[in-house]
């Protein structure tokens, strides 16, 4: 059974269409929901929680209809909002216990679960301090803990890496992966960066202006988008010279932003070819990295016209 299933889901605000006839199916494991700001990610989450009504179409979460069984869904689902939601004068421990009780756990069980969950998200002694003094990383952990305290079947994480520095970002992503794979809780995690979700999710759903742009397993994504970014120096037209050489060698290469060259990975030998050609041409290889794909690339590649049915 699909964890989340939407059919023809549409949300019309007076001025904008937030969701446009959306058909999405989300299963177990970690699913990334990617879209630019305003693509309809948060609207979709609110509808899935039963907090906003869809204009038309239906959605089912864990077998419950969002329009009529909102309370049943909210008992089984954990939600981590995108925005700040932590009272400054309460400790993380107190808040998580209280939120556990609000989800129906008896006090003793809520305390035990809160201690467990706070340990899993990595809040140590600071859990007893008022949250007003927390760093962004600690706040995000506390927000995640309150979403997990009642042992939900599904958690909706809205931009959990928002505002984090690179290392906290990696920690949070590792945590998301742990929740989905070790805890056995289905995860729907949103981000506007496809690159970071690729690493942790089993499936990726891409939204654009409320429409489904793409939904596929992450492995397919990687296969379709695997490319290298190469930067060389040594001559003013170094990038063009190397690009031409790469094309002559039978690879697909195109100029990327600035002086960069994007090379499509054909097989495992592609990086070696790039390296050898660079050396042969007497150029200096400044960097060669996997393309950290961003949402814009999906747009460039597929374009908004090529919506694939699920």
């Amino acid at each position: 059974m699909a964890v989340i299933e939407t059919v023809g889901l549409t949300k019309q605000y007076p001025a904008v269409t937030a969701l446009d006839n959306l058909d999405v199916e989300v299963g177990d494991g970690v699913t990334g929901l990617v879209g630019a700001n305003g693509a309809g990610k948060s609207t979709l989450i609110k509808i899935l929680l039963g907090l906003a009504d869809a204009t038309s179409g239906t959605a089912r979460v864990l077998g419950h209809d969002v329009a009529t069984e909102g309370a049943a869904i909210r008992a089984l689902v954990g939600y981590m909002p995108e925005h700040d939601c932590l009272p400054a004068d309460v400790s993380a421990s107190d808040l998580v216990v209280h939120m556990g009780q609000m989800s129906g756990l008896p006090y003793a069980a809520a305390r035990e679960r809160a201690a467990d969950v706070l340990r899993h998200v990595g809040l140590a002694e600071e859990r007893y301090r008022p949250m007003g003094g927390y760093s962004t990383g600690m706040k995000q952990r506390a927000k995640l803990a309150q979403a997990l305290v009642h042992d939900p079947k599904l958690v909706l994480l809205d931009e959990p890496t928002n505002g984090l520095d690179p290392s906290s970002r990696d920690d949070m992503l590792a945590l998301v992966q742990k929740v989905g794979h070790e805890f056995g809780i289905a995860v729907l995690v949103t981000s506007h960066l496809l690159g970071e979700l690729e690493r942790v999710s089993d499936h990726v759903v891409v939204l654009d202006s409320g429409r489904l742009l793409r939904a596929s397993a992450t492995t397919e994504f990687l296969h379709a988008t695997g490319s290298l970014i190469v930067e060389v120096q040594g001559r003013p037209d170094a990038d063009r010279v190397l690009g031409q050489a790469l094309v002559d060698a039978g690879l697909t290469a195109r100029p990327a932003e600035g002086q960069l060259i994007e090379v499509v990975v054909k097989d495992a030998a592609t990086p070696d070819v790039v390296r050898d050609l660079t050396v042969d041409l007497g150029l200096g290889l400044v960097r060669m990295q996997e393309r950290h794909q961003r949402i814009e690339d999906v747009f460039r590649e597929g374009g908004a016209g090529s919506v694939q049915p699920v």
Binding site: K46, L49, L51, A71, A72, R74, A75, V77, Y79, P81, H83, D84, C85, L86, P87, A88, D89, V90, D94, H98, M99, Q101, M102, S103, G104, L105, P106, Y107, A109, R113, D116, H120, P130, Q146, H150, D151, E182, F183, G184
Partner: protein, 304 residues
């Protein structure tokens, strides 16, 4: 487990075993139990319990100051009843909340934002809305916590006076009737004040603003009403004062007590006719219902 004193076969090691994630298979309580625990948490928070030490100072201090006059009155009553030839409470139960209205207003003004505005300002309300509790239940329980906290503040000194009165051998039957009437009045007053303060606090998200706004609403309305009543009494236009009494929770509830329980007048112009008395009762119901309805309407537009 081995204690350090006994030399066991296994040397104690510093390993903490990671049990991994443990799912929860225990009971999950229904809406009633959840609401009750939410109510209790809110009530504790009204007196600063479960919050920082600093936030206990004001409510606890006000509670103490509120009890102080009652304690003195009881002391005088018990010690000097025969000397002063007293045969009833020195200050009637129904007058006490009016005498201490400043303290009550400050309490409500300080604690309504602590309960209501806080959830809105920090957007903690999202976390509540993302849980099974329904939106109107959230509003009603928050209001009930505030009303209960206010009721405790108003009724505690009355209880103290009642117990003191019985110790001083005042007629038990008469005191009980009067005390119960005053307790009903205290409940009405608590509901009205909590409703008004919660509404103002829900409309003013910033805490300092909310405190000031509630104080202004309660104190200004009481001062204006008391002045009008005083003037109308001394100029002989009592009916003007009776109508004016409808516009402050304190005079309104006192009028209801005067009409329903025949308690001694605490304002210059209590309702004198049945029609006016019924109007007072209707005004209490309308004010309570109106503020609850307005609160629920206000929260309908809160986006998670």
């Amino acid at each position: 487990m081995s204690s350090p004193s006994e030399p066991g076969a296994q040397a104690p090691t510093g390993v903490i075993h990671d049990l991994g994630y443990r799912p929860y298979g225990g009971p999950r309580l229904g809406e009633r139990a959840v609401s009750w625990s939410f109510f209790l948490t809110g009530l504790r928070n009204t007196y600063g319990l479960g919050r920082s030490g600093r936030s206990k100072v004001l409510p606890m201090g006000l509670f103490g100051v509120m009890l102080l006059p009652a304690l003195i009155l009881v002391g005088v009553l018990v010690q000097a009843k025969d000397l002063l030839e007293l045969d009833s409470q020195i200050v009637p139960y129904s007058t006490y909340p009016l005498t201490t209205q400043l303290l009550i207003s400050v309490f409500v003004a300080a604690q309504a934002p602590a309960l209501i505005s806080r959830d809105l300002r920090f957007r903690t309300i999202t976390l509540y809305l993302a849980r099974p509790m329904r939106r109107p239940v959230y509003v009603l329980v928050r209001l009930a916590s505030l009303a209960a906290g206010t009721f405790i503040l108003i009724a505690s000194p009355l209880l103290l006076m009642y117990v003191g009165g019985l110790l001083a051998d005042l007629p038990a039957g008469r005191e009980t009737t009067r005390f119960l009437g005053a307790a009903v009045g205290a409940l009405l007053l608590a509901v009205l004040l909590a409703g008004l303060a919660a509404l103002v606090a829900a409309l003013t998200v910033r805490r300092g603003m909310a405190v000031a706004a509630v104080i202004v609403v309660l104190l200004v309305s009481y001062t204006v009403v008391a002045s009008i009543q005083g003037i109308s009494f001394s100029t002989g236009h009592e009916s003007v004062g009776e109508v004016a009494g409808l516009f402050s929770p304190y005079t309104l509830v006192n009028g209801v007590q005067h009409y329903l329980f025949d308690s001694p007048r605490a304002t210059p112009t209590p309702p004198s006719s049945d029609a006016m008395g019924l109007l007072y009762v209707a005004a209490v119901l309308a004010m309570a219902g109106g503020s609850i309805g307005a609160l629920i309407a206000r929260y309908r537009s809160v986006n998670p």
